[in-house]
């Protein structure tokens, strides 16, 4: 049956228009800070602002911390569920879906109520405590993606055989996790890490309500006070998101495979 390709191409063209026009418009707008001429001045203004450098590096640090904590929590859980406690799988999977059900604004509202200065664990009392709380909130936010990535990674390697082999050679569980499992799922973990960073670096709601100087809060501030710099920030954010997602695609090519014998 001969099928016309006219309609698919037309739909593709229209869709591309919707998705590319805002990007083109934003880019064009970001270059128009000077009258009648294109310039990179908006970008220069952004990059040279101390607040940009401070908030961006702050968000990166919190993002990395969230990745580390996330990996430490998720990898052992996914490993044990896969190998020894499969009956816990429904519970764990439900929990990893919770952050998709609970909107971030509810999560942070709950934190503020529960960890405020008059509670048992007054995390919001100190700067460092609030930073910890923000990090943990980001761990929660990225949990569905991190767990999915790690679980997919574990599926592609033969966890059972690797564990037994390591056991015979005298390795304990910590050694197995750290020196056998983790190196074998590096690619999956890194995918989860980049996705976490893509989600977390521009995050606004939680950081703003916890009063932390994060990149998202800074962007909102610039948006309220400037005209062209926000467009430059949008382009920069898009490039960052694209880079993070591009890394995931790139990494996927290096994934090791030692799938279980069937």
């Amino acid at each position: 049956m001969k099928q016309s390709r006219f309609w698919p191409w037309l739909i593709f063209a229209l869709g591309s228009l919707y998705f590319l026009l805002p990007l083109i418009a934003t880019f064009q707008f970001s270059l128009s800070i000077r009258r009648d001429t294109l310039s990179w001045d908006a970008y220069l203004n952004v990059f040279q602002a101390p607040a940009f450098q401070q908030t961006f590096s702050y968000s990166l640090v919190v993002g990395f911390a969230a990745v580390v904590v996330g990996v430490l929590i998720v990898v052992p859980a996914a490993y044990f569920v896969r190998l020894r406690a499969p009956q816990l799988r429904p519970v764990i999977e439900f929990v990893t879906l919770l952050p998709l059900i609970i909107p971030p604004i509810i999560l942070v509202f709950g934190y503020i109520r529960m960890y405020n200065s008059s509670s048992l664990i007054p995390l919001t009392n100190s700067t460092i405590g609030t930073d910890v709380l923000l990090t943990l909130a980001y761990v929660a936010l990225a949990m569905p993606y991190m767990y999915r990535a790690v679980d997919t990674g574990l599926r592609t390697i033969d966890v059972q055989t690797l564990t037994e082999a390591a056991n015979i050679l005298g390795a304990n569980t910590a050694t197995i996790l750290l020196r056998i499992i983790l190196p074998n799922i590096t690619v999956a973990v890194l995918s989860g890490a980049f996705l976490t960073l893509a989600i977390v670096v521009g995050e606004f709601t939680i950081a703003s309500l916890l009063n932390r100087p994060a990149f998202g809060v800074y962007m909102q501030n610039v948006g309220a006070n400037r005209a062209y710099e926000p467009a430059a920030l949008a382009v920069i954010s898009f490039v960052i998101t694209w880079a993070a997602m591009g890394m995931i695609q790139l990494l996927a090519r290096f994934a090791p495979r030692t799938a279980a014998r069937s």
Binding site: M1, Q3, R5, W7, P8, I11, F12, G15, Y18, F19, L21, P22, L23, A25, T26, Q28, F29, I73, P76, A77, Y79, F80, R84, A85, I92, V95, L97, P99, L100, I101, I102, P103, I105, I106, F109, G110, Y111, I112, R113, M114, Y115, L136, M143, A198, I199, E203, F204, L209, G216, M219, Q220, G223, P230, A231, L233, A234, S237, F238, T241, M245
Partner: protein, 280 residues
């Protein structure tokens, strides 16, 4: 089953209890507590004000509209790209781009749409210059229901494409060939085979998209400040202490949001388990 087996899962469970479940449950519970610490339904009853009701109504409408449009457009787009025999490169580009665009939400998305459809935006300018049409005078406003819906579609459509693509791949080529052999037209194939198989997935994704839009705040906040009265923005202002100034009411507002978001997701989870039968 040894206790040692639980140790690896313990950090995860402790984290989930302390930083997901208990804070949310605590917040939900405080919706039923009055200032003196006793049980009350007053907070819930206090939701019944014109401002709060209309904020829920606008939120639900924006979420439904952006979810429905996102799902429909995303489905058509995914079908065209995957089953329209477009080159493989187009398909992988679209999927990669969808991955990026579905995460491109929040503050920067608002900026992008201000530069596109704002009063000084490129499209606004193009219409004015070449078609002599001032879309703002014609009644369009980016800071309105439709403005917000169009903006939300920028992450809803890609999300739909990402979720529905595996389901469309699951429509086996043999099915359409078998249908064609039996004399079915393409319309009949989609009416009796294609859509019924995709249907649970579609409905499920719809509820996921709904919840996605319903909880979103950053885009709307950067777009409209606090001028657009949607639930998350009202709650944001409430947490900030700007308005209402009633802790119980804030919790009740949060409870309302969670109930609506959870309902949508329960629909999704139930339907997804039914849908997976066909995707093996």
């Amino acid at each position: 089953m040894r206790w040692g087996d639980y140790i690896g899962v313990a950090p995860f469970l402790v984290f989930a209890i302390l930083f997901l479940i208990v804070p949310t449950a605590f917040l939900m519970a405080s919706a039923f507590v009055d200032r003196e610490g006793g049980f009350t339904l007053d907070n819930i009853a206090n939701l019944n004000t014109p401002q709060i009701l209309s904020s829920f109504w606008i939120s639900i409408r924006v979420s439904v509209a952006s979810a429905a449009i996102g799902a429909l457009v995303g489905l058509i787009f995914a079908l065209a790209v995957i089953r329209g025999r477009l080159p493989q490169a187009v398909r992988s580009t679209v999927l990669t781009f969808s991955g990026v665009a579905s995460q491109f939400a929040g503050i920067p998305l608002a900026f992008a749409f201000i530069a596109t459809l704002g009063r000084l935006g490129l499209i606004t300018w193009l219409f004015k210059t070449y078609l002599d049409l001032d879309i703002y005078r014609a009644g369009f406003n980016l800071l309105s229901f439709w403005g917000l819906t169009i903006t939300y579609c920028y992450f809803q459509i890609p999300l739909m494409i990402l979720i529905i693509a595996p389901a469309i791949d699951g429509l086996k080529k043999e099915w359409s060939e078998a249908a064609a052999t039996l004399g079915a037209t393409p319309v009949q194939f989609w009416r009796y085979v294609g859509l019924p198989v995709l249907w649970p997935n579609l409905l499920g994704t719809l509820s996921l998209l709904f919840a996605n839009a319903f909880g979103a705040i950053a885009t709307a906040y950067a777009l409209t400040g606090s001028s657009l009265n949607i639930v998350p923005i009202l709650l944001y202002a409430q947490i900030r202490g700007d308005v209402l100034n009633d802790p119980g009411l804030g919790a009740a507002l949060a409870l309302g949001m969670v109930v609506i978001a959870a309902l949508a997701n329960v629909v999704y989870l139930v339907i997804r388990t039914r849908a997976e039968r066909w995707l093996k």
